[in-house]
Symmetry: D2
Subunit: 282 residues, 4 copies
């Protein structure tokens, strides 16, 4: 199916398809007001705007309840509902059990299941991220999880419309790149939090772990542009060096930066145990 | 008078002299328990330890009340009680009036007068610092002010014992140096806050403004050594570049660092509008 | 035509086609010894190896004579023989005349015409590069020009085999990226020389000018891998800052670096008027 | 003796004293034209100007012949002629023998003995420096040695006038500081060459090895100010990391910088195995 074919579906069928992408009644109703869609780009942009600006906590929580519960040992070891969880399957029993335990802890703590866009993540990578996210407040997790939901929605749009062209989608508006200049190789498996200021406090709004190339290409959902303002990126350099028992001067590297508009911002970190640099990249 | 002569004074005279250095009954009694003193170094170290570790909020507030009130226009334009306020006298009427206003605001907000070790500070520099400190919480100001009191105590020890040798005194345990690599000259008049973590929140414990050479030699009182731990230094780079209408990517540069022992730590900042570096200096 | 069709050509036709890509008898004969070719990759690799390792000065000079002479005003203002010179056409009369003059100077100085892979270069960009290359010795130019010839050969292979897949071709083995951290934007139009050590002297072996993104994607021909060793990259930072009348501490930034194998090396420069950084990138 | 007493000496006595500081007839005659001297500063400045600007190769070589020959095993193990060689005495037999061998090699190669201002140098440090200087051309060594002679002259002026005040003497006009940000400590025992451009070639004009704090306080003689121009500082980072078998991307770090006047220039290097930074310090 491509977008043209989708636009010709009966409205209730189309609505059902969209609800399967993001299980919020409010979101589905609001996006259907624009049906039929003029382009794939419009679909993604509408999804983002409605999700971030018109929906609120109860809508986000509703969508979380429509996710397949994949956090128990049985589900985690079986094949997963969607290909977006690929990569978890090949995990060791220990990892699966630790994941199941952490998923349960997460739900107990926050009142909703752990939502993550699993694409490209190994079971170990997901476990590291989950443990990391367990340190956040429920308010922070609500925002992180709804961002993950939007990433999942886009993946589901693509699966729903396999014959459509989504090549317009670019990387996250905010990107980073960690290079360890003491070894000359990218800083991988580093936890990074993106924070925004709310009521004079920094709250995590997105979170990820650097890949083998020191990057997190999907820190923000595609087509999600932050309002111009002041943001903070926190790199967990202490844990990174701790893994190799390397003493470091910096338990964290916190970079506070301004965005002046909704264009792309690249905020790299050159790090070594006793020094670091940052700059606006391109 | 040198220390030998001081040690021969009757105890109540010696106590009175010390109370004139730091107007806290508890501090004066505690330090007199060690009278006579074995060296100038012992005197300064005892002062620091008692002031930080044995005294508490009420003692600190008591000492603040024994300072000459120099925040009103009349006092500010007259000569000041002690030479440690030198530099303020030559100020313009506007600065004096702004200083008087800010002093009054400070006392209203915090319930005690503005305490600062004025040595080497111009009226304009003091005004900038005062405005900056007005942004702190009263709890933070209490700690900053008691640190300033300890710096003042040391200056008064030196005046009390003009024939003694205080050359053992070194610079602040924590130092910094700001260089602006877009101009090749030191970053002067930059506000810097040193913070410690308390109950999971960062609280300012010392504050200063960089001099013409980009340094703050007295960020901490001499002989004051922080417990090994994690500290944060915040550089107000946004205001610095704002003064020259230079757009910057960084409203603040926040450096979180570990101290492993009580030796000296140098935490420099190389800054330019769209990039900065830090490292452990020597 | 694709490679399969090419392989079915009579040998002398195939040879003639290849000679049109690189006008050296020795090169054409040597490469034809491998005819028919097993893949496009083999063709490009053979071309590179034969050109660099088996051919020598006389062969390189021979190939230069088979280039269309496009350095005079008439040719420069007309359409150019091949699309690899696209971009020059739209130039001003002044630029065309300056280009013609510089082309003549170049030929007088070096004894062969100015060879450059013009793809993506404007007339002004080409003029800047030409003036820059006029500063090199003839020995250096011989090596730079033969590298440019190899880039041209690859472009001609692609035109000769429009139905073949050349997507395996990657960027230059040595890349760079200049970011100006005083402005937060890439350093464009910066002349960069790559040098190798020969008889204890540094000789330029490749040269280019950074594009709008601060990069030179074709510093070396594709599939050309330098022998592991020590190389130097020279950035003309003095001219770069000179254009905006910005005083700089650094007339040049010279980076000497080791390559340990034939993989890709990224050597970025973060520059501002009074400071710079480099590191091994990824 | 202080300068006043010196000025009252008979001219031939004064001349003899000065010749003992720097054994060149031309230099001694030229400086005596200004006798008596108005200040210690004038004496040092005159010495520098005459030595660098009026004297030439034959004068420099003459002065080298008047140095005690301390390069043989016997002399090296005995006490040395002047205190400026202090530190060498405590060396191991191996070091002494290696020093003697290198001294002989040096004299054979260059035609004059190895001249170095030995103050504060251990035998091992001196040996490292000597081996390093053996790599220079004789022309370079002539200039380095005459600079060392000027440092020695200043030390001898101080010994000749023990009651004079030489506190006006500042550090070298060009200084550096190496910090290794992979370890957080200064980069010590790093060989550094300062070069000037002559006939389009870089020639070493001063050379030293960083001390425990990563500095070379006497890279240039005191009161010697270079003409504003372009200079190069070369840090032997390859040997530095080689000592700890640490792979590095940088066999050398070469910093080319401009001086705009005769004031002090600080050119630091922040280095780690795969990255480095430099900036104009203060």
């Amino acid at each position: 199916m491509n977008l043209t074919a989708f636009n010709e579906l009966p409205e209730d069928t189309a609505r059902r398809e969209l609800f399967a992408c993001c299980g919020s009644e409010k979101w589905a109703s609001a996006i259907m007001r624009h049906f039929p869609f003029s382009s794939e780009k419009q679909l993604v942009e509408l999804s983002s705007k409605i999700w971030y600006d018109q929906c609120s906590e109860s809508d986000w929580r509703e969508s979380f309840t429509h996710h397949p519960k994949i956090g128990d040992v049985k589900s985690l070891t079986e094949k997963f509902a969607g290909k977006e969880q690929a990569g978890v399957a090949a995990a060791s029993t220990e990892t699966i059990e630790a994941l199941a335990k952490a998923n349960a802890d997460y739900e107990t703590k926050n009142g909703f299941i752990f939502i993550v866009c699993a694409t490209g993540k190994s079971a170990d990578g997901m476990l590291a991220l989950l443990k990391d996210r367990l340190q956040n407040t429920t308010e922070e997790e609500l925002h992180i999880a709804m961002g993950e939901q939007q990433k999942i929605s886009i993946i589901r749009f693509k699966k729903m419309l396999p014959d459509s062209d989504f090549s317009f989608l670019k990387v996250s508006q905010i990107t980073t790149h960690v290079l360890d200049t003491s070894t000359g190789i990218p800083g991988k498996d580093i936890s990074i939090r993106l924070k925004a200021s709310k009521d004079n406090e920094w709250k995590t709004i997105a979170q990820g772990i650097t890949n083998f190339d020191g990057r997190i290409p999907d820190l923000l959902p595609q087509e999600r542009n932050l309002k111009p303002g002041t943001y903070k990126m926190v790199f967990d350099t202490g844990s990174y060096y701790g893994k190799s028992n390397t003493q470091t001067f910096y338990p964290k590297a916190e970079i506070i930066f301004n965005t002046f508009d909704e264009t792309h911002y690249h905020v790299p970190l050159l790090v070594n145990p006793f020094g670091y640099s940052t700059y606006r990249g391109s």
